[in-house]
Symmetry: C2
């Protein structure tokens, strides 16, 4: 299926002195090899199946995404843990939620999440709409109920009008399903095209430095691409964590068995969705445990736990340099002006259990 052209490249017909010294294949061959594994982030967003990116729907989704009144406490919004200014994460080991509870897993980015095979670290939500229904109800996160959420939305004329505009053909547009679909529509627009890597994939030889290109070659050559491939350089499949060597308990806590909790099959013990690596330079700390703050250390742990090898320091530097090319153009989001509460709007309940 996938073929490495690096061996061929090493025997290439154009032994440019600089490249020969560094072991770097010619760009055309490196690019051809990379295109066997990866594809660029598209320049424009695409509607998810069963949804549309009508401006009214995306605008409603942005309102819902940024509105802390979607939480029981009135404190947390989607944006609290998936910050559009921080690469789509909160920069915490694991997120802080209702009542200052600490969640069990590191918050993954919603940027480019539309391109993942499924959502959450264990893939338990098939799409972004299903995902959007999770944190809002989780006691450790936003601790709300669909009833209280819909009561909040229906109490505000500004939201009722926005739902009517976003779902114009529906008799009862303000529903939990449509709450989720609007957020999915907004999140589908949160893509980060035009990274150095994507420009390189599209033919711009100068978009990446030699060190970054060596990192790309090493990323493919050492086998990182077995798990991290596709449009999101990960996020496309499930794999056991610790296949070669189990990392320490702070990185891979015994109590979190990953996808096993979803499928209840032994094969899925400590299996997680491979982390999508787009914008990974922005999304520390790393792993589902959020235990590792340094990208070099994360790469090193991956090489020992997944590949069973100890990469040399310069090679780790090169791979980290390559990962830096995955930072794309961050979304430019105007903070929405949110609907005004009404006398009937449920009051926030920060002290609710």
């Amino acid at each position: 299926m996938k073929t490495f052209l690096l061996a061929i490249a090493a025997l290439g017909a154009l032994p440019l002195p600089a490249l020969a010294q560094t072991g770097l294949p010619p760009d055309a061959e490196l690019r051809a090899a990379a295109l066997e594994w990866f594809e660029p982030i598209p320049d424009a967003p695409q509607a998810p199946p069963g949804n549309v990116l009508a401006p009214e729907r995306v605008a409603l989704g942005a309102m819902l995404f940024f509105d802390p009144r979607m939480s029981r406490s009135g404190v947390f919004s989607c944006q609290s843990c998936h910050n559009v200014g921080l690469g789509g994460v909160d920069g915490l080991t694991t997120s802080i939620g209702h009542g200052w509870q600490q969640g069990p897993r590191n918050a993954p980015t919603m940027l480019n999440a539309i391109f993942n095979v499924a959502q959450f670290w264990d893939g338990r939500a098939p799409d972004l709409a299903a995902q959007a229904k999770g944190p809002v109800q989780a006691g450790v996160e936003m601790n709300n109920t669909p009833e209280n959420l819909l009561g909040t939305l229906k109490s505000m004329p500004g939201y009722v009008e926005a739902f009517e505009a976003a779902f114009p053909d529906e008799a009862a547009p303000v529903s939990f399903d449509n709450f989720a679909r609007a957020i999915e529509a907004f999140e589908a627009t949160l893509i980060t095209p035009d990274s150095a890597f994507d420009r390189y994939l599209k033919g711009d030889d100068a978009a990446m430095s030699d060190q970054q290109k060596r990192g790309l070659a090493a990323f493919m050559d050492t086998g990182c691409t077995a798990c991290h491939a596709g449009r999101n350089v990960g996020g496309q499949d499930y794999h056991p964590f610790g296949v070669a060597e189990r990392p320490g308990g702070s990185v891979l806590p015994e109590s979190d068995r990953g996808r096993f909790a979803v499928t209840q099959t032994a094969d899925d013990d400590y299996v997680f969705r491979a982390a999508p690596l787009r914008n990974v330079a922005l999304t520390a700390p790393y792993f589902h445990s959020g235990a590792v703050w340094d990208l070099r250390e994360a790469v090193s742990i991956m090489s020992s736990s997944q590949l069973g090898t100890e990469l040399a320091e310069p090679q780790i530097d090169e791979i980290v340099a390559f990962l830096g090319t995955l930072t794309g153009r961050q979304p430019r989001i105007v903070h929405p002006i949110l609907p005004v509460r009404d006398a009937a709007t449920p009051q926030p309940q920060p002290m609710a259990r």
Copy 2:
């Protein structure tokens, strides 16, 4: 100084039937009376004394305002309690801060705060820069220290560059003072011009309905303007709460003696800065205690506690209708993309005491 022209208006030379029925003075006279008390929000922001609104400084201020890493926990930013999408408030009775502590007073809006005589409910900060240093250090709010804050800022090349651009003539631009000045510059841009009231003040008779105009007349006639006047319809002076009749303990808790804590003079017992009423329809709940969710109830409490009168229901409705005209054009803020953390960046400490 200030004169009521309403008595004159009632004897006006143009007894238009509709106006005569409602007791509403002609627009020219109502406007002239209003201009004795109020002035419009300017269309463009102005630099605070000792500061400049250079784009680089405002942009840095926006970054700092939206960055949760300014808090010890990594959870709260200025925006958490002063939400640009919610009229500049958090919509909570009193704010939730570090460790889920509940703060002592309702979060006031930063919109148009540049026009207040001083900052905080008790005026303890003379300007927005002094104000900006408060919550970041308050144990019950962001629980940070200047040292940890500066360590965070100096660790990120993106912030160092932004400070250098914002304070180009300074040898050591990354300072706690400049942190505060940049936030002050950003907040000085957060003004809400073009409200219906302002358009009316500027000569547009149709900008307000008859009910709203009657409310404006009543607002002046009953004496609300004794405390709520000037550009912000309040925020310009200090007054005792409960001058005519002390409201209940949930609205005016005995333990919070207001400006007394600042000046230690008996005259300042239960004295607060008069609430600025710009955008008041957006900023429930009301009072420093945040105890009142309904604007009608707030007006009613004010009339009994401050004016010693019981306003009739229709007059309360009119005043509330007038207060609705104080909602201006809300700021259009692009969420800033925040600098990337570095290996040296202090880690968030959500569980710190």
